[in-house]
């Protein structure tokens, strides 16, 4: 490595644009959803254990400090779902040209924000 000019990761060369932000966000939301899946598993296991265990978990999940987590997980779910459709379309060979990749990216952003706001308003807050 010493003294050798190697190509470096794209984020040091290119101007950041929406495709790169959303690509990072896909991985981050995916990881956070893995934690959310743990919360869902705990919820189901408590439900199967009995009403006392369920009430204990419900108190935590229903408390004020937990609500931001639920809103955050709903954001992650809607983003990962919407952006996942984008990824599947690319895998099938569609929508990879610069113009459409940016348009679909902004569509994902709008869909995610609207869905998260509507879901959070109706089910969490």
């Amino acid at each position: 490595m010493h003294g050798v000019q190697r190509p470096v990761s794209p984020h040091w060369i290119y101007r950041w644009e929406i495709t790169m932000w959303l690509s990072s966000l896909h991985r981050i939301t995916g990881l956070l959803l893995s934690l959310g899946a743990v919360a869902l598993a705990v919820f189901l296991i408590a439900l199967a254990t009995g009403d006392e265990a369920f009430d204990a978990v419900s108190r935590v999940y229903g408390s004020g400090w937990f609500k931001p987590l639920l809103v955050g997980w709903s954001f992650c779910l809607f983003f990962h779902l919407a952006n996942g459709v984008r990824h599947l379309a690319w895998d099938a060979g569609y929508g990879f040209d610069p113009k459409r990749i940016r348009a679909s990216g902004w569509t994902v952003v709008v869909v995610t924000l609207v869905a998260t706001a509507a879901f959070s308003y109706a089910a969490i807050i």
């Binding site: 990881l31 899946a37 743990v38 598993a41 189901l44 439900l47 009403d51 369920f54 109706a122």
Partner: protein
């Protein structure tokens, strides 16, 4: 210059490890999770309450039990594959990488089976 044949060099190095299956199952579970994820969001939205009796009655409905099990299995598999890729990207060092991969896979299998068992216990419980 290496004296190894090209075949010998590539065997056991990623490309010969079943990446195609990983890629395909990641997409297959993704496609399954599209309707299942939207279904769960819709159900949580329309559930009349989150008290014990209401939630148990909801999980006990056969359609709910079946879709929940499908969701848990698809999500567990999809998450396991996704986290595996992240570990392979960021955890360097043969030993720590193998240990992290094993811990992640074991945790995914354990939690998935526990969640499936929980749904079955509620569904078949008295």
């Amino acid at each position: 210059m290496s004296l190894m044949t090209p075949l010998n060099r590539v065997l056991g190095l990623g490309t010969a490890k079943g990446a195609a299956e990983h890629w395909w199952v990641q997409r297959m579970t993704a496609v399954a999770l599209l309707p299942l994820g939207l279904w769960l969001a819709y159900e949580l939205l329309t559930l009349p309450g989150f008290d014990y009796a209401t939630v148990v009655a909801w999980v006990r409905e056969p359609v709910t039990s079946i879709l929940l099990i499908l969701l848990v299995v698809a999500a567990g598999y999809h998450s396991s594959l996704g986290v595996q890729v992240v570990i392979e990207d960021y955890v360097t060092g043969k030993g720590s990488r193998a240990a992290t991969l094993m811990a992640s896979t074991l945790a995914h299998v354990a939690l998935t089976i526990a969640a499936v068992f929980a749904v079955l216990k509620i569904a078949f419980g008295s």
